[in-house]
């Protein structure tokens, strides 16, 4: 009985828990509630993915109203995977949050912090679950508004301006999306994605539909921080509380990318990407993003900001996969979507452990800490290798599929960019590792101790996941291919 409602429960549970977390009297009680909720969602998302893979797509009618009049939750391998990523990262982040949040956020705000976190979590899950394009907008607003609040909780005053910057850009994006949805609704008279998929082929030649499509893409490109619309991201990631950086870096951009994939390949008819210049634009933006953001990353003095720029570059890889508009390309994008969550999650967590100890993460603050905090340092090295794409790590699997997708199209420039991007990653990760290991430690840093186990354990869970999914990509590749097929990308 209950298993029929998993799809709904995933959204409803965190949504109900959010206000409860806000009124609980102690921060630790809210934390406990959040931990239970996120773990439960993780289990549910796992069950949901299992059900989808074995029994085919799930269609859930909200309130018993049949689509296209009622809202439909429609789950296939792709959104089941994204939902699993979101809830898994949340479930790993929350244990980490206990100490990290107490250190970085004023005590009286902690219940509110967890409340906003749960709202954001519910919003992100809602976006992945729903099969209704207007419903996407609703959940997008829930997740965005709560993430503005979460970012503004950062310790430094710059957190406020970066949250404001994100708010402006995010609202622009959401508005663009809404305009696009409105235009398409005007032409098709439906908001259900499957319904749209049936009606759109008849009207794809209309200029209105093209305009609507462009608005939707630009809107979500803003949320995704696709180059050159990424300007809000480095500030937001740098000044947000570390827990939030971990969570957003590993989930928010992934969900935005999911929506793009869904609209590009499910809602709009197959071949729309290649008929319009969309594919080329994605490729161009991806290439420019990989090169520019990686070079920017090299010159950053703040480790969080360096990793933020690296995220922009990694989003560029995913955009390149979309740009190829092929089965292999989309598979590569989905694989990287999963793997990038693992590596960035681990890296930001490890940096957070350093911030927990010394309260800063500028290159000149962290000198020599590698010897004082060997486990944190080890996590940065291994996750960094994964980011570079060394064989035996998850990052290698991403690069492997991405390059194969490019080779299939004989896109030699793209092949060069992907491999060159890896080398730039060697340079910027090398800078962090050199600072941690080779620079002599200052007096203050000599007395720094290893981070507490509550921070290290979640970090190392992700580090091991990086190695595990590098040595056994059966799960990742299998699900990604399943998802690409579910999207309806034709295998060439």
């Amino acid at each position: 009985m209950i298993e029929n409602h998993i799809s709904l429960l995933l959204v409803v549970i965190p949504l109900i828990a959010a206000p409860i977390a806000a009124i609980l009297p102690w921060g630790r009680a809210s934390w406990m509630l959040t931990l239970v909720v996120t773990s439960a969602c993780f289990v549910l998302a796992g069950l949901q993915l299992w059900a989808v893979v074995h029994n085919g797509a799930i269609s859930y009618e909200l309130g018993g109203w049949a689509p296209p009049w009622g809202i439909e939750y429609r789950i296939d391998a792709l959104n089941a995977l994204v939902a699993l990523i979101v809830s898994a990262i949340a479930a790993i982040t929350v244990p980490y949050a206990l100490l990290s949040a107490e250190k970085e956020i004023p005590k009286q705000q902690i219940p509110l912090f967890y409340s906003a976190f749960l709202l954001c979590f519910a919003g992100l899950l809602g976006i992945t679950q729903t099969g209704d394009i207007f419903n996407v907008f609703v959940f997008l607003e829930i997740s965005s508004l709560s993430s503005y609040a979460l970012i503004s909780l950062g310790q430094r005053r710059q957190a406020l301006t970066s949250a404001y910057q994100y708010l402006i850009m995010g609202t622009l994006g959401a508005t663009f999306f809404l305009i696009g949805v409105g235009l398409i609704y005007a032409q098709t008279g439906t908001l259900n994605m499957m319904d749209l998929a049936q009606r759109l082929p008849e009207v794809t030649s209309l200029k209105t539909v093209h305009t609507g499509f462009a608005f939707i893409m630009i809107g979500f490109a803003l949320k995704l921080a696709l180059f050159p619309l990424h300007l809000w991201l480095p500030n937001a990631y740098t000044y947000a509380p570390t827990v939030i950086t971990v969570f957003l870096a590993a989930t928010a951009t992934k969900v935005a990318l999911y929506v793009m994939l869904r609209i590009l390949f499910t809602v709009f008819p197959d071949g729309f990407v290649s008929v319009t210049p969309t594919g080329d634009l994605f490729l161009l933006s991806g290439i420019a993003g990989v090169l520019t953001a990686s070079v920017y990353a090299i010159y950053q003095m703040n480790v969080k900001r360096l990793l933020a720029y690296s995220s922009v570059a990694q989003i560029g890889y995913m955009a390149m996969g979309i740009g190829f508009a092929s089965f292999k390309g989309v598979t590569a994008t989905i694989i990287h979507l999963f793997n990038h969550a693992l590596m960035k999650g681990a890296l930001f967590m490890a940096v957070g452990a350093i911030i927990y100890r010394i309260g800063a993460c500028r290159m000149d603050n962290i000198e020599g800490l590698g010897r004082q905090m060997p486990w944190t340092f080890g996590a940065i090295v291994i996750a960094g290798l994964s980011l570079i794409g060394v064989p035996g790590t998850a990052g290698f699997i991403s690069k492997w599929y991405l390059v194969l997708a490019a080779l299939e199209q004989q896109a030699w420039l793209s092949v060069g960019v992907i491999l060159f991007g890896s080398l730039l990653a060697v340079v910027y990760m090398g800078k962090v590792i050199e600072a941690l290991y080779f620079k002599p430690a200052s007096e203050a840093n000599l007395s720094v101790k290893e981070a507490p186990i509550l921070l290290l354990a979640p970090t190392w869970v992700l580090v091991f996941a990086n190695i595990y999914f590098g040595l056994n990509a059966e799960f990742t590749v299998g699900i990604a291919e399943h998802a690409a097929r579910a999207l309806g990308v034709a295998a060439k």
Partner: protein, 488 residues
């Protein structure tokens, strides 16, 4: 012991040793004991393995399948056995040497040193036994990473700079070119498994074969073919045992070994010969041989000169691989072993001189030979083996390489090989000669300088004796080389 157990033991024992070394970090004597015991066990096991391999047993093991169709798998074939035999035998000798050297030189961070060393050896075996390009690439990269802490061992700014060059070139070429070559191979042939006769014939347009081979040749940066050779001289900031075993044997030989594997088992020598795949590229190796010999002549720092000599000798093997004829490949395979024993002797001697006299420059070594006769005697033997004179093992590999050039009718290449031997004479032989027969700079003979500690001497004598023994008894390596070319 079953074949699988033996194979796993050889691969994992060095790693277990590394764990033991870390566990015993507070007790230097026990720690060194762990190194010695592990290295001896590995040497014995490798010899047993080689014997059983020669008697026809098959060693194969699949560990996992990270990607559909691509496995992490090991399969011992003759070339890998030869490489593993060299690395396994020399590890124990180098360990004996290293203990004397590191203590006498009062190096810091010795635990890190021995740990990284053991891990690097394990990666070397991984490279040697890999059954496909993916597994090989995995261990190839791990070998680079595990030797990085050894290169930057002293933690000085110079070491850090050298470390950057080291990682930059080795990771840059491997990710930028080697990985690309593997991916192209996979997308063209749908396989990366090392297969007798190659996997590309009939699947790859011969017009593109040269380009793909170039990707491999330059992508395998560890083979140090110019212009990607700079990491090797840079790596000389490492302690001498590292230069001796890793940067004259394990790491660099992993490079040329990979090139040979690609030549024999990916392209297939028939495919190369039929389509003249390497016709132009072979001159890159020839140029590297001559140019680096010339550069070696201009170096006054002994280790730098030896490094450039190594670059030159590595290109002998690359050249033999690209000849792709039977004798050429046999010569190249044997040169992996012959050069290893000779070059490690030279580095051992250089390290002994450094430990005792703190001298690095050749111009300061006049007259030193009379104070350190054993050291310079070893140096002389290593030199003659490198030159390829009879009575020394190095003659055999050069003989077959020369035969390979004749077989393919490349007489100009034969000329280059001979010219290079002359250059070897010119830049190596004067060092022991001046040490024995010139007078010290200030005219007074050295009286306070004695030979290096006994462990150092022991290691040197072993390796240099092997140089001579291999002249009379090159059989194990010759047979393995023939098997590799003939196909097993």
């Amino acid at each position: 012991m079953s074949t699988t157990t033996l194979l796993l033991l050889v691969l994992l024992l060095p790693l277990l040793g590394a764990v033991g070394i870390i566990a015993a970090r507070r007790f230097p004597n026990i720690r060194e004991g762990v190194t010695l015991v592990t290295a001896s066990l590995v040497a014995v096991l490798v010899v047993i393995m080689a014997n059983r391999f020669m008697s026809g047993e098959v060693f194969a093991l699949t560990v996992g399948e990270p990607l559909p169709g691509i496995t992490i798998a090991f399969k011992v074939e003759a070339l890998g056995m030869l490489f593993a035999l060299v690395a396994g035998l020399l590890w124990i000798v180098t360990s004996i040497y290293a203990i004397g050297y590191m203590r006498e030189h009062k190096e810091k961070n010795q635990t890190r040193f021995y740990t990284a060393f053991a891990v690097a050896i394990s990666c070397t075996f991984g490279v040697a036994f890999s059954a496909n390009l993916f597994t090989l690439f995995l261990f190839y990269e791990l070998l680079t990473l595990s030797t990085y802490p050894l290169v930057t061992h002293t933690d000085t700014p110079a070491a850090k700079k050298a470390g950057r060059v080291y990682l930059g070139i080795l990771l840059g070429t491997s990710i930028g070119l080697f990985l690309l070559a593997i991916l192209v191979t996979w997308s063209v042939s749908g396989s990366v498994t090392f297969t007798q006769g190659g996997i590309l014939a009939g699947k790859l347009d011969p017009a593109w074969a040269g380009l793909l081979y170039a990707l491999f040749l330059f992508g395998i940066g560890k083979a140090a073919v110019m212009p990607f050779h700079r990491w090797l001289p840079a790596a000389m900031v490492a302690p001498t045992p590292v230069s001796a075993l890793l940067h004259a044997v394990a790491v660099v030989k992993a490079g040329v070994f990979t090139l040979l594997k690609v030549t024999i088992y990916i392209f297939g020598s028939d495919f190369i010969l039929a389509n003249d795949v390497t016709g132009g590229l072979i001159w890159v190796a020839a140029a590297t041989i001559l140019l680096s010999s010339l550069i070696a002549m201009s170096k006054d720092n002994l280790k730098a000169r030896l490094a450039y000599s190594t670059i030159s000798q590595l290109s002998y093997i690359a050249l033999g691989a690209m000849l792709a004829s039977k004798s050429g490949l046999i010569g190249a395979s044997m040169h992996i072993a012959m050069h290893a024993f000779a070059k490690i002797s030279l580095f051992f001697a250089a390290g002994a001189i450094l430990v005792v006299t703190h001298k690095k420059l050749i111009s300061e070594m006049d007259g030193l030979g009379r104070a350190m006769p054993v050291t310079f005697g070893v140096f002389l033997i290593g030199t003659m083996s490198i030159i390829g004179l009879p009575l020394f093992g190095g003659m055999w590999s050069k003989f077959y390489l020369g035969l390979g050039t004749v077989e393919t009718g490349q007489l100009l290449l034969l000329g280059i090989l001979m010219l290079s031997s002359l250059l070897n004479v010119a830049y190596l032989l004067p060092i022991p000669i001046r040490a024995f027969f010139s007078k010290p700079a200030d005219g007074k003979p050295y009286t306070k300088i004695n030979e290096a500690p006994k462990t150092i001497l022991l290691a040197m004598v072993i390796t240099s004796s092997l140089c001579i023994i291999l002249f009379f008894y090159p059989d194990p390596f010759y047979q393995l080389a023939t098997l590799a070319v003939g196909g097993r």
